[in-house]
């Protein structure tokens, strides 16, 4: 099965084309989604089989790599050109196997969920085409054995994200958000682009397996180069995974349909950055600086995003900040040498965050608003949604035995081993997580209904939307324990760090319990503020700390910085164009015009300027010089012309004199 893994990205891609070109837009044909869902189901099955094969060690050699020639091109080596092959192929290792399952599963569930959520949308078919296209690109990114192809898919997921965020493009906000998302990630991609160039310059190959071998060979990769490449990739990852300082696009990306947010901006695409860092871990292994940078970026992001989530009222925004924060956890783990921990959290987080988003979608579908202040008390109206979301919240908060407990614990353990200040900060972020997640739950589902009208019309979503929730809830409960069992996950992804990074400072045994206790305290605090149907305390706190609140609500001003950056670049562009049209162009046109005019004045005979009607440059030139020169030679006067001849004669005689 694994040798046909190329089908996994290929089929959705073809299906997206089929849907786009062969299905009718207006007919609300039910086949388009079913075709997509069926394909995704097939992909899931295949992924599960591969996962099974991988976990049972049935694949030899492992990791599996299948490679074909994409094209061959002219390459250089020491000033000599030669024909080099650019491979395209699949590389299935543990991380890929896990990611395949996660992506296909979430995608399948989201597609099913969307049957209900997107029902009746005028661009229903196109939605499915985009989803399939996105999934194909994402899967391509996961399985590719070639960094160039990975980058290609990386960009393609960006485009599908662009298309899906801006799916309801008639509204200005999604249109703007989609552009912002694309541009911000593109900014990060510039770093990745340079990193790719550096990789080629250093290794002369993009094949990941080859790179890994070369990187391990002493002398090939200098620490400086490794740092540069590592930072470049980090740049790309920061863009895609919405890390500080490029996280600004993710909250805005919530303008897209909620299932899309669940799929792209929670479970899969945003994880691509983490995945890429993991895939190129061998480079970071060669550069402690890059590694440290990864860790700190992750940590900063985790903290900042968590604080921002504290004050958000838009349910999807809360989840978006939470996502950013959790991605920061993962990155921090990777930066601390926690390869397994990072990927493990990636996996579990995919399940419960997708669940949270889908649940939020269900809520929004029901009450038609995103604003939590207009919700409240929905638990009675939407018990299934509430139940599943509560499970997810427990999971993300890291309560035993839910999935998040295991992965977060692994991360903290790892970070503790690496740097205890970091550990402290990260633990704080974890506490904040629990706080704001429960704040969300309390505001949404608990207490009184604050908007009776909306509450009255609220209803449980159809089952087509609910059973994906249930399935995800199930996974949120069991996946952590199951995967962590006997080091199953660690064995599966199986990355051996170089000796230097193996910091075996074991965390105290009591640490998990202590953290859990603290988390519980945080939840209790959250209940104290928001769970009692009495917000006076929260309000007074807000009033007292209003500067802090406004900083948080303004996202620490990062949005403003980026806006001013955009404005600045616009100004530069305007200046460049002014320079182009008024300086360079004028220099040539007017310069030419000036020369022409001077020559014409000197040659002395002109009346009517064909020119001044056509060449704009002539108009601005001074006429005074013309008048002056012209008065020297008037027109048509025979004897003045004869004078020239006489002058020539006298010049000749002087010439004779000089001899």
């Amino acid at each position: 099965m694994v040798e046909h893994a190329y089908l996994i990205p290929l089929l959705p891609f073809l299906v997206s084309l089929v849907i786009l070109f062969f299905f009718d837009e207006d007919a609300h044909s039910p086949y388009a989604p079913y075709l997509g869902i069926a394909t995704m189901f097939w992909c899931l099955v295949q992924s599960l089989v591969i996962f099974h094969q991988a976990s049972s060690g049935a694949v030899h050699p492992w990791p599996y790599e299948g490679s074909w020639e994409w094209f061959s091109f002219a390459a250089d080596s020491a000033g000599k050109g030669f024909s080099a092959a650019m491979p395209i192929g699949i590389l299935i290792d543990g991380a890929a196997a896990v990611m395949l399952v996660v992506v296909t599963l979430v995608s399948l569930l989201v597609q099913v969920y969307s049957l209900g959520y997107m029902h009746g949308d005028p661009r229903f078919k196109r939605y499915y085409a985009y989803l399939s296209f996105f999934t194909a690109s994402m899967l391509g990114l996961v399985v590719s054995n070639n960094l160039l192809v990975t980058f290609a898919c990386w960009e393609l997921v960006g485009v599908s994200s662009y298309l899906l965020i801006g799916f309801w493009f008639e509204k200005p906000a999604p249109a703007y958000a989609s552009k912002k998302a694309f541009m911000t990630t593109k900014l990060g991609d510039c770093g990745l682009y340079v990193a790719l160039l550096l990789i080629w310059a250093k290794f002369g190959s993009f094949k990941i397996s080859m790179l890994a071998v070369s990187a391990a060979t002493p002398g090939v990769l200098t620490p400086l180069a490794a740092t540069a490449i590592g930072l470049g990739i980090l740049c790309g990852a920061a863009g895609k995974s919405a890390q500080w300082p490029l996280f600004i696009w993710l909250p805005d990306a919530m303008e897209g349909p909620t299932p899309v947010s669940a799929l792209i901006h929670a479970a899969t695409m945003v994880a691509a950055g983490i995945y890429l860092v993991a895939k190129t871990y061998f480079i970071y292994a060669a550069s402690p600086v890059a590694m440290e940078a990864v860790a700190w970026i992750g940590l900063i992001t985790a903290l900042l995003a968590a604080t921002m989530a504290l004050v958000a009222y838009d349910i999807k925004r809360v989840l978006a900040f939470s996502t950013v924060s959790q991605l920061g956890f993962m990155l921090c783990a990777l930066g601390c040498g926690g390869y397994t921990a990072g990927l493990f959290h990636l996996t579990t987080h995919a399940f419960f965050k997708a669940l949270l988003f889908l649940g939020a979608g269900s809520v929004i579908h029901s009450v038609h608003t995103n604003d939590m202040r207009q919700m409240g008390g929905l638990s009675k109206k939407m018990p299934v949604t509430f139940g599943t979301m509560f499970v997810a919240t427990l999971a993300i908060a890291g309560i035993w035995p839910f999935a998040g407990y295991f992965s977060k614990d692994m991360i903290l353990e790892r970070v503790y081993g690496h740097n205890q200040v970091m550990f402290g900060l990260l633990t704080f972020a974890a506490l904040l997580t629990a706080f704001y997640m429960f704040r969300m739950i309390f505001l949404t589902f608990v207490g009184d209904d604050r908007d009776h009208e909306r509450h009255h019309h609220a209803h449980e979503s159809p089952w087509v939307m609910l059973w994906p929730l249930c399935l995800l809830a199930f996974l949120s409960v069991v996946s952590g324990a199951a995967l962590a069992h006997n080091g199953f996950f660690e064995h599966l992804v199986n990355y051996k760090l170089p000796e230097g990074l193996m910091t075996e400072t074991l965390a105290p045994r009591l640490m998990p319990y202590a953290v859990t206790a603290l988390v519980c305290g945080s939840i209790a605090l959250s209940w104290f503020f928001y769970g009692r149907n009495d917000f006076t305390l929260a309000e007074s706190l807000k009033a007292r700390c209003s500067p802090i609140f406004s900083v948080l609500e303004n996202r620490y001003g990062f949005d403003a910085i980026f806006l001013s950056l955009v404005a600045f670049s616009d100004r530069i562009a305007k200046f460049a164009f002014w320079f182009d049209s008024s300086v360079i162009d004028q220099f040539f046109v007017d310069g030419w015009g000036l020369i022409t005019r001077i020559c014409a004045e000197l040659s002395g005979l002109f009346d009517n300027l064909f020119v001044d009607r056509t060449v704009d440059g002539f108009g601005g030139l001074s006429m005074d010089a013309g008048v002056l020169l012209r008065s020297l030679v008037t027109h048509g006067q025979v004897q003045e012309y004869l004078m020239y001849i006489a002058v020539a004669v006298s010049l000749f005689t002087i010439l004779i004199l000089s001899r």
């Binding site: 002109f606 027109h635 048509g636 004897q639 004078m643």
Partner: protein, 101 residues
């Protein structure tokens, strides 16, 4: 008398002719000045023939040609003056201003 005397004479005549051609406003005046230039050339020819190349008569022959050609030019010129006088009623060169660059 040396050749220098004759050359001085012809040179002065030449310059007077040039001056006249440059300054006379009347076409016929210009024409007459041009005749002076021709005569200067002829004096040159005759003088050179006499002083430097006494063996032949080429100089005189050329002078004879010049005289004839000058005559032909005068004829055409005067005819043109007549024609243009009929058209424009003037013989002053500055007054010809139909053609301008």
């Amino acid at each position: 008398m040396t050749l220098a005397h004759y050359l001085t004479l012809s040179g002065l005549l030449f310059l007077i002719g040039i001056f006249g051609a440059l300054t006379r406003r009347n076409i016929i005046g210009i024409l007459m000045s041009i005749e002076l230039v021709f005569n200067a050339a002829n004096i040159n020819l005759a003088a050179f023939n006499h002083f430097r190349h006494p063996g032949g008569v080429a100089g005189q022959a050329v002078a004879l040609f010049f005289i004839t050609i000058a005559a032909a030019e005068v004829v055409v010129g005067l005819a043109l003056v007549l024609a243009i006088y009929r058209n424009t009623d003037t013989v002053y060169v500055e007054e010809f201003s139909l053609l301008k660059g």
